[in-house]
């Protein structure tokens, strides 16, 4: 089944746009939040602040991920050395085979 998308491009119907998935998730979370507000199992003053707590937690998680990733950032200084060796080897061969290896014309 095929339908015409917004820019006149064809699209297969069973591919849901990512933004739709995100919106659906937000709607589901909002519904949960509203039902919590109305059920008064949790004190209202706390429930009102839940979205804020969620956003702050998300932010903290993001910062944590950045920090952890930064600490574990894979580096490869030995590769720079190997590359220099490769360059020397390449220049030798190329010079012998008629290729100009100067960096300026």
């Amino acid at each position: 089944m095929v339908y015409w998308g917004p820019k006149g491009k064809t699209n297969t119907a069973h591919q849901m746009k990512h933004i739709v998935k995100i919106m659906a998730l937000l709607v589901a979370m909002s519904a949960l939040w509203i039902s919590l507000l109305q059920s008064s199992k949790i004190p209202e003053s706390y429930t009102w602040l839940l979205p804020l707590y969620f956003i702050v937690s998300l932010g903290c998680y993001g910062l944590l991920m950045v920090g952890v990733g930064l600490m574990q950032f894979p580096t490869c200084p030995h590769e720079a050395v190997l590359l220099q060796q490769d360059i020397v080897e390449a220049k030798e061969y190329l010079k012998q085979n008629g290729v100009d290896v100067g960096s300026n014309p």
Binding site: I19, L70, E79, A80, Y93
Partner: protein
């Protein structure tokens, strides 16, 4: 009757002022792909430093069948450079890589092996996993890279660890399909390609690669790049 599979790999290398690097890259590709059927397609955007003359010398040294020079009159952008190269590609697989030696041809066999083992439509190089890595980035650069990556992962759920990487192997038909639906420029274009491919359900595999930042020449990352990146993220969030 059993048919021996004949795979040919078309390696598209866009260049602009890569007079020295293109020769080194070609040498290294030949060194590491010795029993592989491949061709190198150099898409040069009218480099004033004589890159095209060097390519012609390389053609004399290695043969014109393996090195194709398909130039363009001026800088016309990366996406169109790939499309231009694709038009001349005769392989059933296409590799895209940078000409500045940040992508080392020694990883080409591992891309090919991974594709053969898994039957993937796309094999993308990732710098951010064990076995991969980056050299030549200061702390600030690593921070922006990591921050950008976390943001992109949170918003886009792309299914790959390195979104802006441009060292990739594609099945030719897959690249043709994906590239026709991408409109961004620069490295956002690389992100758009892999995200759209992921959304379309293509089988994507990753191999670790090491990335040694620009040996000869100058690299670019400033405030305007960051703004472009954020705009690109929002665009991808909404349209893919």
């Amino acid at each position: 009757m059993e048919e021996k599979e004949e795979n040919k790999y078309s390696i598209i290398v866009p260049t602009y002022n890569e007079r020295l690097n293109i020769a080194l890259i070609v040498y290294l590709i030949f060194k590491h792909l010795q029993n592989v059927n491949f061709e190198i397609i150099v898409v040069d955007d009218g480099s004033p430093d004589g890159t095209q003359e060097i390519v012609k010398q390389l053609q004399q040294a290695y043969g014109e069948a393996c090195i194709l020079l398909r130039p363009r009159p001026k800088k016309l952008g990366l996406g169109t450079a790939y499309m231009h190269g694709l038009k001349h590609a005769t392989g059933n697989f296409v590799v895209i890589m940078d000409a500045d030696l940040s992508h080392h041809p020694k990883y080409l066999p591992s891309f090919i092996k991974k594709q053969r083992e898994t039957g993937a439509s796309i094999v993308t190089g990732t710098r951010y996993v064990k076995g991969g890595g980056v050299h030549g980035w200061n702390l600030m650069r690593k921070l922006t890279s990591r921050g950008a990556n976390v943001l992109a992962q949170t918003l886009l759920w792309p299914g790959v660890s390195d979104l802006t990487g441009s060292f990739r192997l594609y099945k030719k038909s897959v690249l043709e399909d994906v590239i026709s639906s991408c409109v961004s420029k620069g490295y956002v274009f690389q992100m758009e390609m892999i995200v759209r491919a992921s959304r379309k359900g293509y089988h994507i595999e990753e191999v670790p690669i090491t990335f040694v930042d620009r040996v000869y020449g100058s690299s670019k990352l400033g405030g305007s790049e960051i703004v472009e990146y954020l705009k690109g993220l929002v665009y991808l969030l909404v349209t893919t």
